[in-house]
C-alpha cells in the first residue's frame, strides 16, 4: 500500500466520521436508541375533571410540521406548528406552537415515559399548559391527555371538526370542563387560565 493511498483512506475516514458526527448533532441521523425519562405525574390525571382542570387549554389540532427542537437544561424538547380545529377549553385559533417534552438529541430519542412523538399530518385532542415565557403550549405526556382523532392528513378542517364533535372522548372532556377540578398549585399561583368558573360567571 502506497503512502498516497494510506493518506487518501485516512482523509476519507476522517470526513466520514465528521459527517456522521454533524448528522448526529443536527439530528439528521436517527439512531435506533431510545432513552426514557421517568417522571412522577401530578395526582389524578386519569380523572377527566382533573386532566381538564390541570390544563390551560384543551383543543383539537392538526399537526402541520415540526418547527424545531431544543434542549432545556440539557434535555430535548420538540416544537410543532399545530392548526387549531376546535377548542374544548380556551379559545385558540389559527396556528399555535406546541411543545412536546422529549425528542432527538445527538441522534438519540429521549422519551418521557415512552410517550411517542406526535406525527405531522395527524390530528389529536391535546391537553396543554401555557408557557408564558416562551408563548407556546406544552402538551402532557399522560395518556389521558391526548387522543388521536385522525391520522388522515387529507381530511378538511370541516371533516376533522365533524370527527371531533362525534368523538366520545371529546364529549367526555366537554362535560369534564364544566366540572373541572383545578390544581392547588394553580390556584395558589393565580395560574388557572381559562377555568370554567372564571369564563362562565353568572
Amino acid at each position: 500500500m502506497t503512502k498516497k493511498l494510506i493518506l487518501k483512506l485516512a482523509v476519507s475516514s476522517l470526513l466520514i466520521i465528521v459527517a456522521v458526527a454533524v448528522a448526529l448533532h443536527a439530528n439528521l441521523l436517527k439512531l435506533p436508541i431510545t432513552k426514557q425519562i421517568h417522571v412522577q405525574f401530578i395526582p389524578g390525571l386519569e380523572d377527566d375533571r382533573i386532566m381538564v382542570g390541570a390544563s390551560h387549554n384543551v383543543f383539537i389540532g392538526k399537526v402541520i410540521e415540526q418547527t424545531g427542537s431544543m434542549a432545556i437544561e440539557s434535555y430535548p424538547s420538540t416544537l410543532f406548528a399545530v392548526e387549531i380545529v376546535s377548542n374544548i377549553k380556551g379559545d385558540l385559533s389559527g396556528i399555535v406552537t406546541v411543545e412536546q417534552e422529549g425528542g432527538y438529541q445527538n441522534g438519540i430519542l429521549y422519551s418521557l415515559e415512552g410517550d411517542s412523538l406526535i406525527t405531522p399530518g395527524s390530528t389529536y385532542m391535546f391537553s396543554a399548559r401555557y408557557n408564558e415565557s416562551k408563548n407556546w403550549y406544552t402538551i402532557s405526556a399522560h395518556s389521558n391527555g391526548r387522543k388521536l382523532i385522525s391520522a388522515d392528513k387529507s381530511l378538511t378542517t370541516t371533516e376533522l371538526l365533524s370527527l371531533a364533535q362525534n368523538d366520545e372522548k371529546v364529549k367526555k372532556l366537554q362535560w369534564a370542563y364544566q366540572n373541572e377540578i383545578l390544581l392547588d398549585a394553580d390556584v395558589i399561583n393565580n395560574n388557572t387560565k381559562n377555568s370554567y368558573q372564571s369564563l362562565h360567571k353568572e
Binding site: 432513552k35 426514557q36 425519562i37 421517568h38 417522571v39 412522577q40 405525574f41 401530578i42 395526582p43 389524578g44 390525571l45 386519569e46 390541570a54 437544561e73 434535555y75 411543545e99 417534552e101 418521557l112 415515559e113 415512552g114 399548559r129 401555557y130 408557557n131 406544552t138 402532557s140 405526556a141 399522560h142 391527555g145 390544581l183 392547588d184 398549585a185 395558589i188 399561583n189 395560574n191
Partner: protein
C-alpha cells in the same frame, strides 16, 4: 415440590419473573406405577391442571439500569426539601442492601438532585439516567404547595428510579406512577428492590 425461575421482558419493557412450580418426578412416577391404566389419562389431566394452576407470576417493575455504583449511590446537589429528601433516603437505606449517601471530594457523584420551577408541565419530579452523573429534578411549582408527605413521596419515588425501579399502576406503592401522600414502601416496592439487590 420446587420451582424454576425464568426472566422475561414484556411489551412495555418491564422485566418480570415467572416462577413455574413443579412436583417431584419420583412421586409422580410412584403414583403412576400403582395406577390402573384406565385411570392414567384422567390422572394425567388432573396433574396437568394442578401444574397449570401452580404457575405463579411474580412481576417485577425494573428499569434495567440504575445510579448504583459498587453497592452505593453517592449523591450531590441541593434541594430545598431537605427533610423529605433525607427521610426518603432513610426509607430506602433501611432495606440495607444499597447505601445512598452524600458525595465527597474523594468519590464520584452518581446522582445529582436539583430543584426546577416548571409551571407548564404535569410532573412533580423526574429522573434522567446518563452515562455520567444521573439527575433527579424536583418541581418546586407543585411541591411548594404540597404537604410534607407528598414531597417525601416524590423524593422517595425518584430515588426508587435511581435504584433501578420502574413506574407501575399498583396503588399502595411508592413507585405508583403518580404522586400520592404515601411515605412507606409498599410490598411491590420491597419485592422489586429485593429482586434487584437481594432480600
Amino acid at each position: 415440590m420446587g420451582y424454576f425461575k425464568y426472566r422475561f421482558e414484556n411489551k412495555e419493557g418491564h422485566y418480570y419473573t415467572k416462577k413455574v412450580l413443579f412436583y417431584n418426578l419420583s412421586i409422580i412416577q410412584l403414583i403412576y406405577s400403582t395406577m390402573k391404566k384406565k385411570y392414567l389419562i384422567v390422572a394425567t389431566f388432573v396433574i396437568s391442571f394442578f401444574c397449570s394452576v401452580g404457575v405463579v407470576y411474580a412481576t417485577h417493575y425494573i428499569l434495567g439500569y440504575s445510579s448504583v455504583d459498587s453497592g452505593e449511590i453517592r449523591w450531590g446537589g441541593h434541594t430545598t426539601y431537605s427533610t423529605p429528601w433525607n427521610k426518603a433516603i432513610a426509607t430506602w437505606n433501611a432495606l440495607g442492601k444499597i447505601n445512598i449517601t452524600p458525595d465527597t471530594i474523594y468519590t464520584y457523584e452518581d446522582l445529582r438532585v436539583k430543584g426546577v420551577d416548571r409551571s407548564w408541565v404535569t410532573w412533580t419530579g423526574r429522573y434522567i439516567y446518563s452515562i455520567g452523573t444521573d439527575t433527579i429534578q424536583l418541581n418546586r411549582y407543585y411541591l411548594d404547595s404540597d404537604r410534607s408527605g407528598e414531597q417525601q413521596n416524590t423524593a422517595t419515588h425518584e430515588l426508587g428510579h435511581s435504584l433501578g425501579l420502574d413506574d407501575h399502576e399498583i396503588y399502595g406503592n411508592i413507585m405508583y406512577y403518580a404522586q400520592t401522600s404515601q411515605t412507606a414502601l409498599g410490598s411491590q416496592d420491597i419485592d422489586d428492590y429485593g429482586y434487584l439487590w437481594g432480600y
